[in-house]
């Protein structure tokens, strides 16, 4: 937590009240979206429970005694969903998956890594992509399996890769 640097808005009390002016609200949601993604990224957290979230430091700044209301949180998450960063796990909107990079963006990162190393037309295992030493410096190192799979499926639909079973992948 010590490493996470909050944006200036976090200490700005009206940031926690959804703004009536549409232009201002747009800027506000913009700032909220990047805050949520950065925070989740720093926490290496994918799942967000909306009832728990109300008391998380993300939406509740104790120092200035301001919190984003449930409606506010829903508005922010809905905005993120539109951008492809959030997927609801249930219809009631209680739990969601937050992806600070969309599967497509992850896919592009992996694909760039592969092409940079002329590893096209070779077969890799999913494990070696995310867990072996070779990729230690890559952002997708340690990426969760389900998300990697989604990323590769994206590449597959673009014709850049083909999944082989659940464990291997070949790039084109």
């Amino acid at each position: 937590m010590a490493t996470f640097s909050w944006p200036w808005q976090y200490n700005f009390p009206p940031f926690f009240t959804i703004q009536p002016n549409l232009d201002t609200r747009k800027k506000q949601l913009e700032a909220w979206c990047s805050l949520v993604l950065n925070y989740q990224k720093s926490q290496k957290n994918y799942i967000l429970d909306t009832t728990e979230a109300q008391n998380s430091p993300l939406f509740y700044n104790k120092d200035i005694n301001r919190r984003l209301s449930t409606d506010g949180i829903q508005t922010v998450l809905e905005e993120l969903r539109k951008r492809g960063n959030v997927e609801w796990k249930d219809k009631a909107g209680k739990q969601c998956i937050i992806m600070w990079r969309t599967p497509e963006e992850w896919g592009n990162l992996v694909y760039k890594y592969i092409t940079d190393r002329s590893m096209k037309n070779t077969v890799c295992t999913l494990y070696e992509l995310t867990h072996e030493e070779d990729t230690e410096n890559q952002e997708f190192h340690g990426l969760e399996d389900w998300l990697l799979l989604r990323a590769l499926q994206c590449l597959q639909s673009q014709g850049k890769a083909e999944l082989m079973g659940d464990e291997g992948v070949k790039f084109f």
């Binding site: 944006p7 200036w8 808005q9 200490n11 700005f12 009390p13 009206p14 940031f15 926690f16 009240t17 703004q19 009536p20 002016n21 232009d23 201002t24 800027k27 506000q28 005694n65 301001r66 919190r67």
Partner: protein, 247 residues
């Protein structure tokens, strides 16, 4: 009844006298003008010498620059009137202010998404100095105000609002009335105002307060905060925590 005749000779005499007075008057005036011109010429020469001798200092030292500007103004010389003028060429001051103007516009644009186009002069100066890099000379508030004044030729996009002892620069079109600036002044220290606070200090009708605040909200200059006993109207442009924000 005796009546002095208005003879032709009398009229002629009168006209002649008048013509003589006139001639003498012109003569004296000419002499004065010539002397004045000579004095001004000498002064100008001295000022030019002074300017070229202290060129570096004028460019580097902001206080010196203010005094030089004032001196020029008192004799009706505007070193910024044209970038091609003698003064601008001699001193490069024209370029200095035009450059500053461009940097001011850049800073205002870059921060407008946050502050709605209203920025405190101190923050503006900090950001301009930062954008000029380390080798930059001192920039004073006076320099900024002069440069902004020059931006007026581009239209009414930029205006300076006096707030107590400080200034704020507005870079979005949209007129701020006296009421609005009074409200901004009220927020100088805390960065926010409330209806009851304005009522207490300015003694306005509630209706008038709401009209002013609603306008500021509409212009995206203030944000509203509903999570305290009374709605607070916050100015991001006055909020200290935002002054050093990179975005």
């Amino acid at each position: 009844m005796h009546r002095r005749g208005a003879g032709i000779a009398a009229i002629k005499n009168k006209n002649l006298a008048q013509a003589r007075y006139k001639d003498k008057g012109t003569e004296i005036a000419e002499g004065q003008v010539a002397q004045m011109a000579k004095q001004m010429e000498t002064f100008k020469v001295h000022l030019e010498n002074f300017a070229s001798q202290h060129k570096e200092e004028i460019r580097k030292n902001s206080e010196f620059r203010v005094q030089f500007q004032e001196m020029c103004a008192s004799i009706g010389v505007d070193p910024l009137a044209s970038s091609k003028g003698f003064w601008a060429e001699m001193l490069g001051v024209g370029d200095f202010y035009y450059e500053l103007g461009v940097q001011i516009v850049e800073v205002c644009l870059a921060t407008s998404h946050r502050n709605g186009g209203l920025i405190g002069i101190e923050e503006l100066r900090d950001r301009v100095v930062k954008s000029r890099g380390k080798k930059s000379q001192d920039i004073s508030i006076d320099d900024l105000l002069r440069a902004i004044k020059k931006l007026k030729v581009l239209g009414n996009g930029f205006s300076v609002i006096t707030c107590g002892r400080s200034y704020m620069v507005q870079s979005v079109p949209g007129e701020l009335s006296m009421d609005h600036t009074s409200v901004i002044q009220q927020a100088q220290n805390t960065a926010y105002v409330t209806v009851s606070q304005i009522k207490k200090t300015l003694n306005w009708e509630t209706e008038r307060i709401h009209r002013a605040l609603d306008y500021l909200v509409k212009e995206a200059l203030v944000w509203t905060d509903d999570q305290s006993s009374e709605t607070q109207y916050w100015f991001p442009s006055l909020f200290a925590g935002a002054m050093n924000a990179s975005s």
